[in-house]
Structure formats: structure tokens, C-alpha cells
Amino acid sequence: MQAAVSHPLQEIKNTTCYMCACRCGIRVHLTAGKVRYIDGNPDHPLNQGVICAKGSSGIMKQYSPARLMKPLKRRAGADRGAGEFEEISWEEAFATLSERLARIRETDPKKFALFTGRDQMQALTGLFARQFGTPNYAAHGGFCSVNMAAGMIYTIGGSFWEFGGPDLDRAKLFVMIGTAEDHHSNPMKIAIAKFKRDGGRFVSINPVRTGYSAIADEWVPIRPGSDGALLLAIIHELIAKGLYDRDFLVRYTNSGQLVNLDAKHDEFGMFVRTEVPEEEACYEPQNKLWWDRNSNRPVLTHSEGADPYLRGEFKLSDGTPVKPAFQLLQERVKDYTPDWAAQITGIPADTIRRLAYEMGVTARDQKIELPIAWTDSWGKEHDTVTGNPVAFHAMRGLAAHSNGFQTIRALGILMTLLGTIDRPGGFRHKAPFPRPIPPCARTPNTPLAVKPNHPLDGLALGWPSDPDDLFVNEDGSPVRIDKAFSWEYPLSVHGLMHNVITNAWRGDPYRIDTLLIFMANMAWNSTMNTVEVRKMLNDRDGDGEFKIPFLVVCDAFQSEMTAFADLILPDTTYLERHDVMSMLDRPISEFDGPVDSVRIPVLPPSGECKPFQEVLIELGSRLKLPVFVNKEGGRKYRDYPDFVVNYETEPGSGIGFLAGWRGRGGEKFMRGEPNPRQWEMYAQNNGHYHYRLPRSYQYMRNWNRGYLEWSQRMRITRYAEPILIHLYSEVLQKFRLAAQGKGITRKPPAHLASRIATYFDPLPFFYEPLEVETTDRRKYPLAAVTQRPMAMYHSWDSQNAWLRQIHSHNYLFVNVRTALLAGIADGDWIWVESQWGKVRCMARHSEAVEPGTVWTWNAIGKAAGAWNLSPDANEARQGFLLNHLISEELPSEGERRISNSDPITGQAAWYDVRVRIYKAGIDEAKESSPQFAPLQPAPGMAKRPAWLAYFAGAKK
């Protein structure tokens, strides 16, 4: 080779990565129109110039032979799943769809369901569904981490990842619990490395030691599903030792508020109120009581000079017995001792105590004082911002259990006791959070909101604050196909995508006509009960009609799911389209202020691919959905970029998909008239808009008057009232009261009353995951969990010639002693069996997994022929999918079915399954099981080459 050859890089275009959901800024270097090199954009706030293994492999995604290139329809008479398609024109695809959808819309709009995978375009998909008039819309949150979103937001008014996270720049102790391999990819890696170099202490609590946990100063192995027990025991210890931040609890949480304990009262378990508020609104009026230590009588909270009792019991003048919320928390955790938790978690009691002390002492003794003056919501001026430098990060390890919501409530309360919310070195919010608890968006609460030829009267997803907010029929039955916002899963704020196919197939609560799936592999790794769900997708009624009559799939890549479609719409890749990371969806905000960003095409669409957004705008125009047409009924927006610039949430609102460079000349932010040069301005500014808040608005935002008023003026929030942390959750208590027959709200159907009364506990508690309770633990003793490897984290849709060389098949990792007890040697073929089914795979001995857990990399195993891999590819022959062992429903007693989900939020309980393992017979095939008939490549797809020697542009 020649040394120091200079490379004339002809062109560099900036856009935003989409190899995972992290959304880093990238520079795409092009040579002769081909992608030469993708590196991190050093001027982007998210990744600051770095890039991960996936981002560096974008070339192999762009030029993958798995790409769909043409609209396709299932060949008449062919079975779904057989993958027999014929090419059609876009015109035929649009005509077919718009004719069918128009008929549904004018008869019963809920017969159209739109569910999307990892789309990050919910601002548009949600708008389309609402305009269509269907309640049956959600993205993938219900089977991802809705417990994390809901558990935290219903407690502290914000959550991890794009809406908040650990401030590792200032933290001294970082505790990561239940976080898979690579969550929040590059920003987290940058932050952890810096944190460690600055001498911070990093503790990882996880059944498995890989990824981030590998570089933790201490690994604390824990049994899956037991995190709640650990967190409650730590809370027990912090309270017992006085290691909580009393000043913080008093002023910024509802700890001191008095709870009505008159069991006969309709307001039992609710805070005592001084007055009924004038307007019904989603903020909390400051009308609760403290029992003042100084005057020994009840006073309005935050009264000047008052200091509430946090403990004790009192009687109001009318005889009503009351206790402060903190007293109730203390009573709750009284028996949650470290010794109790040790039995459940497998963590020695001394370790639990030590963890509690490390947290408590670090928070108390290593306080940070920043010289930032600010004013709180009650007008008190503070000279400094205080930080208690203990930070946490958590995600699916806590969330994907049926006890996850209460576990995450416990985490939020632990972070609160330490006084770490929106403070330096603790947890910090990212705009548009914090929001009221719960946020203001609501679904309709009546089926009357669904009307032929009308938009849905409300949002398809929202934040219920009491039983009257549920989206149910008169008889309490669900309005939505996934039964979200019903008595079965009242706070299912992200829907239950994992039950859509089963429910629609069974006709419970009803049949639908058309299911449109975008970017989700519901016939493989994104579904539970894979084998049966695949049958449901192809199942027909007696008259030969499919039980789910019309199935449309939009995706950029051929997959197990596209094989089941009646109509396939070929999407573009991320390098070929416009996208917005919108403040109306999930922006990329930083701790110091709101940030949103864009994707700008660096390549023209391949083949006949069309961005899904363009499909929706075309359909919206053809269906004459109000926002997509002008007064005359003609098409209003030329294309998606035109829509992004000109659409306003209501005429003249000045709020649109992008917050930056609004106003005619781009001089405004958040609100302003449409700016015809908005895309150009994003392009000139590294594809993002970053508004840096004044320093005095960057902390304590739940109660920071300046910030809240700014946020209100910017119309990020409607109200500027303080957002007190819900140590005690009245929202949950309202549901419990309804279940107990109390109060004026709706009441649940009789068969769900005890379920609601049990799980809607206003204080966190520990219970065994629901599936575990129905499992014979002697027969199925092991917990089985999954995670994605870093090199494929969140990379959901394409095979990738480079990445698959890193992970071409997966093993089941088994603790060495556990394996030896079962007579399993390293590399043996074994069976893994749950009460639902079994898979054959290869075992790998590991010392980095706790003995009661087995685990594997998820979504490495593929059905033969999927992704245009050869049918004998390792992914199909040695790789396997654990999903076959996981049910989407719990064991049923009689007719009634219930989702295998958290009873509060409907979060899919992926990690609750219990299994046993045993050696496969020596005469059995050395191949993973089950196997499926190989998928055929779809028409128009490229042939897969026998070898690659990629060189961008012409080879020298």
C-alpha cells in the first residue's frame, strides 16, 4: 500500500443517525455519490463527534440486499407468510389503501388500526390517526419501557433518557440498575468514561455483567424481577438511619401533606384539602395541609414560618384522623428490611445496607453548592443551587416486569429521599419535562369520541388522572383494540402493541378491518408468543376471509413481518429522507435546554422507495383528512418538508413540528409563524436547534418560578404551578377508591375490582411478577432474560454485513455451576423450556450471570431466509429467539384473558418468564428449534452477493 495518500473527499453532508434510537449527529462523506465514510459530527451536542459500531456500519445498511425496492401486493390466493408477492405501482397501492380506508372511515373508523415500531415520528403518525378518527393508535412504548416513563412521570414529573437522566458531570456516585448493555448509547458512554476518569464510583446492579456493567467499580448481581425489594429495603435503611434530605422532602414533595385516614370516608387515603379548586385543570392546586410543628395545628402547606411534622398521627378538628404521607411511607417500608430483601434479591443484607449508606452519606456529605440564584414557586429566593451527587440510571431491567411500575415508583422515591431531583449531580430533566403529574394530555373518555368521517375527539394516547379519564364504554369495556386506558391496564400511556394482533384475531374486544404496521417485526422479535401469533396473522374464518382482513406493512427491509403483509410499502433508509426529532414527540433535549433536530437526505431514494411520512401525507390528502387539505378540499402540503414548515397545531398557534428558527425570518423559538427557510437554517446549524436556558432556569425546574413561567410563555406547559413530587400517589389511590366502591368516579367492572384495589397502591410495594405467581417454580426454576448487544443495540431492521460478523448467532448464557448441575457442558445443544413452549439452542458457560438467571442476545436469531440471508445462515440455524417461550397473555381461568403485562401500565412483562434447561438428545439435529419454512426474497430485491469488497466510488 501507499503511505499518506490524500483522499479528496468530494462532499460531506450532515444529518442525524438512525442506526439506533439515540440520534447522533453524523457527517456523511460521499465519493462519486456513494457513501465513503460516516463519522460523528463534532459540533453536535448529543455525541460530540463520536460514533458507535452501528453508526459506523451505516454503509452496509444503505446497500443491504434486504432492502425492499418496490410496492408489493400478496399474490392472489397465496397464504400470508409464504412471501409470495407481485410488484404494483404506487398509484395502485395508494388507490387500494385510500379506497379501503375511506370506506372504514365513513362507517367505523376504529376498524383501522395504526401501530408503529421504533419510528420517532409519533408527532405525524399520531396526528394522522387522530385525523382519521381511530382510537387504535400507538407506538412501541407498551412493549418497550412504558413502566419507566409512567413510573417516573407519575412520581417526579419526568423520566430517563430523552426526558431526563443522570448528571454524571457532577455526580460522585452512579448507580445503574436494570439497564441493558447499551442504553442511551453514545451520550451514556461519553458520560460514564468522563465520570470514571474524574474519580466517580460506579455501581451496577444487574443479573448480568456485560456492557457498561463490565467497567463498574462494583457489580451487584440481582435476581430478575426483584429490584423493587432491593429499592424498598434501601429506602427502609435510609429512613431508619436518617439519611434522607429532610429540607428537600418538606419543600418539594408531598411528604408532609396530611392524608385522610377515615376508612369510612369517600376521601379515604386522599390528601385533606382546604378548598375545592375553581377550575378543573391538570395542575395541582396548593390546597393541602401540613401539621405545623411550631403552632401544633394544621396549616396550608408552605405557609411562611411553618415546618410540618413528617411523622405522627393527628386528628383534625372535625375528628378526621390524618397522617403525613412520609409517616405512611415509613410504615410501608417498616418490614422491608435488608434481611427480608436479601432472600428475594440474592444480594447479601450487608451489601444492601452498605449500598444504602454509600448513597446516603455521599448525598449528604459531598454536597455541591453552585452559585446560582433562583426563586422557587412560593417566592422564596435562594442564593445557591444545591446538589446531592448521587445519580441513577435504569431502564428495561426494571420496566419489563409486571411489577415494574411499582418498582420504578420506588426508584423515584429513593432518588427523592436523597434529594437528587433536578439538582446538580443527581437526576436532571430535559425539556419539555418536567410536566404536571400526570401531564395534561388526555384520551377521550367515551366511545362517542369515535365518529364516522370525523377526527377522534381527543388524543389516542394520554395520561389518566382518575377513573373518569379512562377510555371505556358505558359498561366499562375497552374502546381501544389493545384495551389500553381500560380497567385492565388503566395507565397504559403508551398502549399495548403486544396485544393488538391477538385481540384483533380473537375479536376481543372487536374485529378490525385494516392493520397498518410501520417498522415493527410483529411476526418475530417484537412479538411474544411468536409461533402462535404467526398463525393468527394467517388465520381465516369459515368463509375464507382472514380474521385480520387487511394487513399493510411499511418497512425499508424485508423481514418475517413483511412476509405476512397483503400490501408492502417500501420505506426509505435514514440517509434518504427528511425527519424531525420534534418537541411534539421525543426531542434530543439536553439538561441545559430544549434541543430538536432533523434528518436531511444525503442520497436520493433507492428504487421506488418512499418515506413513510410522504405516504401518510398522500393518504391524508386523498382521504381529505382536515389538516391535510385546504378549504377547497385540495391537497394542502406539497410534501413532508413543506408540511413540517407550514403545519401549525392549530391555525395561528405558532407551534409546529420544529421549534427552532420560527417566525418569518427565523428569529423566533418555540412559537412563531412558519419560516419558509427553516430547513435551510437547520442545515446550516448542524441539523439541530439548541436553546440554552439561563443558568438560573437549569435546575429545580419542578419548583423554579422563573423556569416554569418561561415554560408557560413558550407554551411548553399550560400552567406554571409547582410540580410537587408524588412520594404518595393520589392518582393511584383514586383508582383504588373506585375499586373499593368509594367516591363519585366511575367504578370498575366487578371482576377487575380486586385487581385494581391490589395494585393501585398509593405507596410502592413489592409483589412477585404475575407470571411467576402462576408458574410451578420447582419445574421452571430459572429466570430468562434478553438484551441487545452494543453492536446491534436498537438496530432493529436490517441485516448488516459487518455487524453480523460480530454477532451471527446467539448462545444461552448459563452460570457455570447451574450448567454443570444440569449436566450441560460449554457449547452443548440444550432445550430451554417454559410453561409456554421450548426452544433448542447452544449453551455458553458464564461466570458473569447470577446462578438463577439465563440470558441471551435478543433478535440475533432469525427465521430462515429473512433479511435476504441465505436459509442456512447462522442466524437461522444456530441463532434462536427467546420470544417463543414468552406468552402475550397470562394463564387464563375461563373465558377472560389478561395480558402478560403490568396491571397498572400494560407494560409487556418480557422478563417474567421462568424456564428450565436440559441437554438435547445426542441424536437430535444440531440446529436451533423451532425452524420455519425459508422466506423467499421479495420481487425487486437485490441478489445477495457471494462476497463483498466495498470501495466507495470507483476502485483505483
Partner: protein
């Protein structure tokens, strides 16, 4: 004399493989390219990589360490791959110590890969020449690139900044300081190859809590354990005993 090298900090490497694919991505279309892939979409795909991350476990549960170990050509100061090359294709550059292969002279005999004790060389099955890390020699001197970008692709990509790049013969360079102050070590020094690349070991931060730290003067229990006093009017023995 300059000796360029990588110093890899195992204390922060999370095994994300960014260095692996960013290297491949840069180099396949670069001066050292192409980097071919056999059976890219079939069984047992196998391609050329200059850099691979090996992950292994150390110790027994629960005292287990999971180590991610990135490995590429170590640019030895006394590289055994050079003298064994029959055609002179393998050579070490005097000006910066980078070990390179001249593809025009390489006959693919593999002597060098047998000589390398680190397994750092891979025969490109398409071109039938020996390939290895070049420290992105086609980037680091490229005056057309901004100064910041004149670094190996793996160093630019690494999200945890676990890869330091510089001259280990310059005692004031960041790499020399890291080796000196953070316990940097070469691989298998007993082979006498004097690898230029070094590794920084895992380091643990612990927190020591003294018993008396749990009992502080400002403990909030001092306030919160003072429960309200009963009202004077509440019944007491005073009302009923007269003895």
C-alpha cells in the same frame, strides 16, 4: 525518533465495537482497502478486520470481571513480522514507527502472520495479501483534513475515549503520560517485540464509610422522631388515681 501508537484504556472500554467497524469503514475505501467480506449474507460470514474486540471473563461468580479487549497490530518497536518477510513487503517506517505492508510486494505467504505472536495480521481472501492496522496512515498526515480529524478512525469514533493516540517516545505526549501515570503495560513483553501499543488496566474506586458518619449532628431524625405531644386534655392517670 517518533513512535506512534495507541494506548487503550481497559478501565473505560465497554466493548461497543465502534473501533472495529469504524476502522473497517474508513479503510475499506482507503489506501489500505479494500477489506473484503466472504459470504457476507450466507453461513459463516468472514471478512477482513484490522481491529477486533475480544470479550472474556476473569474470576468466578460473583467476583467476576468481564473484560473487553480491543486488539490490533501493536506496531512493535522490534517487529518479528518484518525480518521474516521474504519480499520486503512488511516494513517499519523509520519516521514514525508504523509497521506497514506493501501490497505490491506481498505474495501472501503468511510468514508474517505466523511470526506475529499477537495474531494481528489477516490475509485478505480476495486480494490474497496480508493486511493489518496502518494507524490510518492515510488520515493522520492528510493536510486536507482539519487538524482534529487527523487521527485514526477508531480513535475518532471511540465513545468512551478509551483509545489514545500519539508518540510514545515523546515523554510529554498524552500517551506517554497515560502509560507512566496509569500503569500502562505492553502485551507479552517476554517476546521482546517491544510493542508500541500499550494498555491501561482496570482501576477501582471504592468508598469507605466510617461508622460515625452514620450519626451526624444534623440527622433529621432528631426532628422527625419528636412526635407530637398529646393534648393536655387527653385522659391520663391523673384523672382516675388518687392514691
Amino acid at each position: 525518533m517518533t513512535q506512534l501508537a495507541l494506548v487503550i484504556d481497559l478501565n473505560v472500554c465497554v466493548g461497543c465495537q465502534a473501533c472495529v467497524t469504524s476502522c473497517k469503514e474508513w479503510n475499506t475505501s482507503g489506501a489500505a482497502g479494500t477489506m473484503s467480506d466472504e459470504r457476507p449474507y450466507d453461513a459463516d460470514p468472514s471478512g477482513t478486520f484490522f481491529n477486533r474486540v475480544q470479550t472474556f471473563e476473569v474470576g468466578e461468580f460473583p467476583d467476576t470481571e468481564t473484560v473487553h479487549f480491543p486488539k490490533s497490530c501493536l506496531h512493535c518497536e522490534d517487529p518479528p513480522c518484518v525480518p521474516v518477510c521474504p519480499t520486503g513487503a512488511s516494513y517499519k517506517r523509520p519516521e514514525d514507527g508504523i509497521v506497514l505492508v506493501d501490497y505490491d510486494k506481498c505474495i501472501g505467504c503468511k510468514y508474517c502472520s505466523w511470526a506475529c505472536p499477537y495474531g494481528a495480521r489477516e490475509l485478505d481472501e480476495k486480494q490474497k495479501v496480508m493486511k493489518k492496522c496502518t494507524l490510518c496512515v492515510d488520515r493522520i498526515y492528510d493536510a486536507a483534513l482539519p487538524e482534529r480529524d487527523r487521527r485514526p478512525a477508531c480513535v475518532m469514533a471511540c465513545p468512551t475515549s478509551a483509545r489514545l493516540f500519539g508518540d510514545i517516545h515523546d515523554p510529554s505526549s498524552a500517551v506517554s503520560i497515560a502509560i507512566r501515570e496509569s500503569g500502562g503495560y505492553p502485551l507479552m513483553p517476554e517476546w521482546g517485540t517491544h510493542p508500541a501499543n500499550h494498555y491501561l488496566p482496570r482501576r477501582k474506586t471504592r468508598l469507605r464509610i466510617h461508622d460515625d458518619e452514620l450519626e451526624r449532628a444534623d440527622n433529621p431524625l432528631k426532628i422527625d422522631s419528636q412526635l407530637p405531644k398529646p393534648a393536655q386534655s387527653e385522659p391520663s392517670l391523673d384523672d382516675v388515681t388518687s392514691w
